[in-house]
């Protein structure tokens, strides 16, 4: 394992922000910490970097316990959200900074900086100051500064959030390429689940200082452990409908959504079936909803036509919003009242009280 956290804890002035997190990221893996603001993802990353002290537990990098090791000796490099480039130094000097501090031979420094600049296509920019560069170039310099250190682990703290949408997509691809090229372990923090899905080979969904679920992107998308993960991963997000179980037989339950005026939805479950009358929460992804005759009646408030995909923003009679995704549909449903339903195998069921997944 490249990075292993065992029961890691952190509190600020009596307030616990990281509650015993344990995780493993394999050698050469790309782990992404994702979660809403204040979930502790950046704190966790900073603890791995050594910029925050650890109040409990153990952090190991390539088998070495680094919990009490100084940041510079952990063999990690970090790319900050604000890039943290030294504005008075040229691109070359920014990238060479750590080597100069370590008094590396000049020839070696030059070779390493030029190699990093070649990888990141920054060779033409080496004499410029950060202020003369575009946002994307600055970001690359920050990554170059990290590469030059030849770390065992790269840490990225929301590095793309200062870029515009187009550049973000481009940098995302470059990061994936870079990861493949270098083969070094990377840990990436973001609140953007699209970034998480596209970059990670292992996502850690965090909430209130706890890992809600860890796994491969599609595993989290298809099989969320709880309502929070289901709602957080996927865009547009999963529809949630409070419902009551009205019947169950042969691995199938029949649910009546609240405010659904008698409409029912069949759900297939492999485990123990909830009893009749149980309160559950149905989780249905927008792309799993079909427009049908009958089904749950909703009114289309807004229809967004994007060409290959259209999103119908609909409301149930009780005002609850449901998003429906349709592919290659040319039918104008704006303002129409339609019926919707999902395949029983595509509907996820969560416990009405705890939000835990019922399988």
């Amino acid at each position: 394992m490249s990075v292993r956290l065992t029961d890691v804890r952190k509190s600020f002035g009596g307030l616990d922000v990281i509650h015993g997190v344990s995780m493993e990221i394999p050698q050469g893996g790309f782990g992404v910490f994702v979660g809403p603001s204040g979930c502790g993802k950046s704190t966790l990353l900073r603890m791995i970097a050594g910029l925050e002290q650890t109040d409990g537990g153990k952090i190991e990098i390539e088998g070495r316990d680094v919990t009490a090791v100084e940041p510079a000796d952990r063999e990690v490099a970090m790319v900050f959200q604000s890039y943290a480039l030294y504005p008075h130094l040229s691109v070359y000097d920014n990238m060479a900074f750590s080597l100069k501090l370590a008094r590396a031979p000049k020839a070696k420094t030059r070779e390493m900086v030029h190699e990093a600049a070649r990888i990141l296509q920054l060779e033409e920019q080496l004499d410029k100051k950060p202020a003369q560069l575009s946002g994307g170039q600055r970001q690359r310099v920050a990554i170059g500064r990290a590469i030059v250190r030849q770390p065992k682990v790269f840490l990225f703290d929301e590095p793309l959030s200062n870029l515009d949408a187009e550049l973000r997509v481009q940098m995302r691809l470059e990061l994936t390429r870079l990861h493949r090229q270098l083969g070094t372990t990377m840990i990436y923090v973001t609140h953007d689940q699209v970034e998480a899905m596209t970059l990670a080979d292992r996502i850690f969904v965090l909430r209130s200082g706890e890992v809600q679920q860890a796994g491969a992107p599609l595993e989290l998308y298809d099989n969320p452990d709880n309502r929070f993960v289901g709602g957080f991963i996927g865009s547009p997000s999963m529809n949630f409908l409070p419902a009551r179980v009205s019947g169950s037989a042969d691995g199938m339950i029949t649910c009546s959504p609240e405010g659904g005026e008698g409409a029912t939805q069949q759900v297939r479950l492999s485990g123990e079936l909830p009893g009749e009358g149980a309160e559950v929460l149905l989780g249905i992804r927008p792309e799993h909803l079909r427009v049908v005759e009958g089904g749950l009646r909703v009114r289309v408030e807004v229809a967004e036509e994007l060409g290959d995909v259209s999103y119908l923003y609909t409301r149930m009679p009780d005002g609850r919003e449901i998003i429906v995704e349709r592919h290659r549909s040319r039918e104008n449903l704006d303002g129409a009242t339609i019926g919707i339903e999902a395949d029983p195998a595509d509907v996820l069921v969560f416990d009405g009280d705890t939000g835990q997944r019922m399988r």
């Binding site: 970090m78 900050f80 030294y86 008075h88 750590s98 501090l101 500064r145």
Partner: protein
Amino acid sequence: MTTTRRIENLIMTGLTCLGAAIWFFPIYWAFVTSIRSEDRVVSDEAGLIPDEFNLGSYIDALFNTQMLNWYLNSIVTSVVITVVVIISGMMCAYAISQLRFAGRRLLYVVVLGSFMVPTQALVVTQFILMDTLGAINTWTGIILPQLIVPVVIIVYKQFFDAVPKEMREAVVLDGGGEYSLLFRIYLPLNWGITTALAIVTFIMSWNQFFWPFLVVTTEDMMTIPVGITQVNDAFGVFYARLMSVALLGAAPVAIAYLIFQKRVTEAVMISSGVKG
């Protein structure tokens, strides 16, 4: 431009010119006096217009007084004060701004507090202290009490506080310690304010009269502002010579000011809180 606006502008220009003339007149008068002979200065015919170009008083000031010694004393003490004040102020501000240690806030309150104590209130104690140290009539005696310039610490702290935290963390991850941080990042990032503070400190110590006047009693150890008082002799006041010494004494500061005008204005605005 409307007529009212034009009249307003005209009045404002007139007032500004009048202010400038009032401010400039003493310097002009000093210059006119300094290029006259002593007899001419006190004669009834001496008017506002320069009517003589006599550099005798300048030659006299430079070679018949201890002027060159005073220059040396002023230069040495001002340069030492500037260098020490800037380096110590910067390091102190860095510690208060960036390091976490017990009593940090108290230390800052003490610095702020010392800013509010007028130098005159400390003169007697400082004089006794310098006497005890045997520093009367020495450069050390002139320099030591002038090394306390809390405003330098306060201004530096403001600027160090504004450096993004990530920059510090990046250096820490790159393996840099506090000295690398201060001298490779914080100082170069604040080079502008450093030069501005250095110029203001230099001008302040060059113009300092009160303390050097007290601590120096022998003519050869005097700084220029104190030396000027020695140009009179038992036979009366030599106006031309007095004015030429005054102009020669002010010249280095005036030249420095003209060269670094922009930075000085910036420093004064920052230290007086107009700009932060």
